[in-house]
């Protein structure tokens, strides 16, 4: 397998943006819902550029530009984005005008900025990037799908670098809707947030935060299929089961969600120390991108903040070498991602 690295990662979320101060002093939330802490966009975008851009677009652009700036790759070969709801705020502006004011005098800007691929194409327009450009939208597996695409093409040497992003916004009205269908809210002891995270994923080993060891995605898998996928992933990442120091899950304080992870852990990782990230970054469809960011940040720093650890198993080591990320959605869609320390052979 070709060695692949995460060279840079930038986020705007419910934690302090564009930095890793959250690792030392995270913002704490009671829930149920909060919006991201935005940087001063005027520092990054001119008024002409940003006047039409809603929050999700500004965040995507700034995290992307910063991820590129902090990498060794000026022009990535691909820009691949995952977003569960797309530009939902603009969608809602257009939709509510349509529903309440009728089919006349509708604003073209809202429509134009409502399609999911507005995010990816904005980044390409801003950076003059003519490379491969695709957007995935598969609910809780949106970011994972984008990462899988990048991984596949990097392994085949079709590309040498990819800017991979996970972006989702949560308007107050859409939070209400998602509560109605039980994705968030209800008995959830956790917060629902927003996500903007961009990674430079590359075959260039220079100054990597960590290595990307591999990714697998599954749909409606049996227990055996999960076990086999995990085994194949470990083999491809040149690891044994005992090399995994930590397993990071997507527990978010909602019973129906956490039960699935508890069962996975019981079956596949009964003796592994566990990590979580949604207690810090909240839940949203592309939250797995923030999970990857969390794991990559820990590997870069070579330590793990205590507040990420949960479960009864204590780690034999504080410095993580290999972290396995598990993501699941509605007990139907699953992904495994392995991250390794950059200095691992």
């Amino acid at each position: 397998m070709r060695k692949i690295y995460i060279q840079s990662a930038e986020q705007i979320s419910i934690q302090k943006p564009l930095c890793d101060e959250w690792m030392d002093a995270p913002e704490l939330y009671d829930g149920p819902y909060t919006r991201s802490i935005d940087p001063n966009f005027k520092q990054y975008l001119s008024p002409t550029e940003s006047r039409r851009l809603g929050k999700i677009l500004k965040r995507a652009l700034v995290t992307s530009v910063e991820a590129i700036r902090n990498s060794h790759t000026e022009m990535p070969d691909a820009i691949i984005t995952g977003t569960g709801l797309g530009c939902i705020e603009n969608t809602e502006f257009f939709l509510s005008a349509l529903c309440n004011d009728g089919e006349q005098l509708l604003k073209p800007t809202y429509f134009m900025q409502s399609t999911h691929n507005t995010i990816s194409s904005l980044i390409s327009i801003h950076t003059g990037n003519h490379g491969y450009n695709v957007t995935y939208s598969q609910k809780g597996m949106s970011f994972d799908s984008a990462l899988l695409d990048a991984w596949i093409q990097l392994q085949m040497s079709k590309i040498d670098s990819a800017l991979v992003g996970g972006h989702d916004e949560m308007t107050p009205s859409y939070f209400t809707l998602l509560q109605r269908i039980g994705y968030v809210g209800g008995d959830m002891q956790g917060v629902c947030g927003e996500c903007a995270v961009s990674f430079m994923v590359t075959a260039d080993a220079t100054d990597g935060m960590c290595q990307l060891g591999g990714i697998k995605m599954l749909y409606h898998p049996s227990a055996d299929m999960l076990r086999n996928a995990l085994s194949a992933l470990l083999t491809e990442a040149e690891l044994d089961e005992q090399d995994i120091d930590f397993v990071m899950t997507g527990v978010n304080g909602k019973k129906s969600n956490d039960e699935v992870y508890d069962k996975l852990v019981e079956t596949l990782f009964p003796d592994k120390p566990l990590l979580r990230y949604k207690n810090v970054f909240g839940e949203c469809y592309s939250a797995s991108g923030l999970g990857l960011y969390t794991a990559a940040s820990c590997l870069k720093r070579n330590s793990i903040p205590e507040f990420l650890k949960y479960g009864g198993i204590k780690s034999k080591r504080d410095d993580p070498r290999n972290i396995l990320m598990v993501n699941q959605y509605e007990n139907k869609m699953f992904s495994f991602i392995i991250l390794k320390s950059a200095c691992c052979k």
Partner: protein, 401 residues
């Protein structure tokens, strides 16, 4: 490419037919499916559209879905097209499970046909919660996949009008990378008030039937539909003893990086996408016999796409036509709908006509505007260009080469 990627099944639903047989008949008899609005409940009756000629209820009945089960029009059309593709490829549930078949579908509006009816209910009460859950792209893909079952990986691509084409590219990459031997890929999109009004606000809809590449062209007609193809590695097809329809011998994806809704005057993204497809297939421009153009009928697209084609093909311009004059612009599904149309053209040895073309435009290629049959199409390009400059091109090759 390491191993050829074969197409072993195809299914289609659109304004000119509910399956390949009906679509072929319409293409050969030059019968457009673009008509006055019938199914979509909108005040904008002035725009002709390419609607699938079935109501949601009729589609559900055909599929054996209970009338009170929450579905979306996008999902229903997708199920119909997928059924035809799976049948042709001889992939029942057991076959899908034992071959780790993946499903990649392109859509942008997803379940918006229901959301735009019930949005105020979504906000105010619990009466339409089932349709909150069907709103997004991924949910539609899930509904289509779950109607049949047995898929080992699913995902959705949303790149506006190139979604289905990009789904096919991702599927091909998955096979090339050895993730699986089979991927069913394509897309589905129904007409909604949301994007009918959206396109109207951009002032790119024509109140008359569209005239791609014509000097008097004034905009596009929206269409709807779904199509899926079964992509399969050569070794898997041989093992299963299935007869391929064609080879997917190349593909390209490039970004125009110019504007969110307009295409660049020199068609840079389109040019790069087509060039990449040719390079992957190790072919030269003069190896291409036919291009199924994106050809929406807007002043901008047709000029930009023509510029790109002229840059690439120069004096070796293949036959070009836009079949959006038959189906309307089926947006996210257009890449796969037009791929299936290309497969029909290759099998039955004809070039689909570019309907309604009469006046040459210096800035545009002259498309096929009269019957052109008994012609061997060895290599065909199929273009799909999305808002935001997401430009993709697929290269299909005759299986007998």
């Amino acid at each position: 490419m390491s191993e050829p990627i074969l197409i072993t099944g195809a299914g289609i639903v659109c304004a000119i037919g509910l399956d390949k047989t009906e679509v072929l008949h319409a293409l050969l008899s030059e019968q457009t499916g673009i008509k006055p609005l019938k199914y979509l409940k909108t005040t904008h009756k002035e725009f002709p559209v390419g609607e699938v000629k079935l109501s949601d209820e009729e589609m559900a009945t055909k599929l054996g879905i209970a009338s009170d089960a929450p579905t979306t029009r996008t999902s229903l059309m997708g199920m119909m097209a997928l059924e035809e593709a799976l049948t042709e490829a001889r992939l029942n549930r057991h076959d899908r499970e034992s071959n780790n078949v993946a499903f990649v579908s392109g859509t942008t509006v997803g379940g918006m046909d229901k959301s735009e009816q019930y949005y105020n209910d979504f906000l105010a009460n619990d009466s339409r919660n089932a349709y909150i859950a069907t709103h997004d792209c991924g949910s539609c893909t899930e509904m289509i996949a779950d109607h049949f079952g047995g898929f080992s990986v699913i995902t959705s691509i949303s790149t506006a009008c190139s979604s289905a084409a990009n789904a096919i590219i991702t599927g091909a990459n998955m096979i090339q990378a050895g993730i699986t031997d089979m991927v069913v890929a394509g897309g589905s999109e129904c007409i909604t008030k949301f994007h009918l009004n959206g396109f109207n606000s951009l002032m790119i809809l024509d109140q008359n039937n569209c005239r791609p590449f014509d000097a008097t062209r004034a905009g596009l007609n929206l269409g709807e539909g779904a199509a899926y193809i079964v992509l399969e590695s050569a070794s898997s097809a041989a093992k299963r003893g299935v007869r391929p329809l064609a080879t997917l011998s190349g593909y390209g994806n490039a970004c125009d990086a110019y504007h969110q809704t307009a295409s660049s005057p020199d068609g840079e993204g389109a040019f790069r996408a087509m060039e990449e497809a040719l390079a992957m297939a190790s072919l030269q421009p003069d190896n291409i016999q036919y291009i199924n153009a994106h050809g929406t009928g807007t002043p901008n697209n047709d000029q930009s796409e023509s510029a790109a084609m002229r840059r690439l093909f120069g004096n070796a311009m293949p036959f070009v036509s836009s079949t959006k004059s038959f189906t309307g612009h089926t947006t996210s599904a257009s890449g796969s709908i037009e791929t299936v149309i290309c497969l029909l053209a290759m099998k039955h040895r004809f070039c689909p006509v570019n309907l309604n073309w009469q006046n040459a435009d210096d800035e545009c290629v002259v498309p096929v505007h009269q019957k052109l049959s008994d012609i061997a199409l060895h290599h065909v390009l199929c273009n799909s260009f999305g808002f935001g400059g997401n430009d993709s091109s697929l290269l299909l090759s005759d299986i007998n080469l």
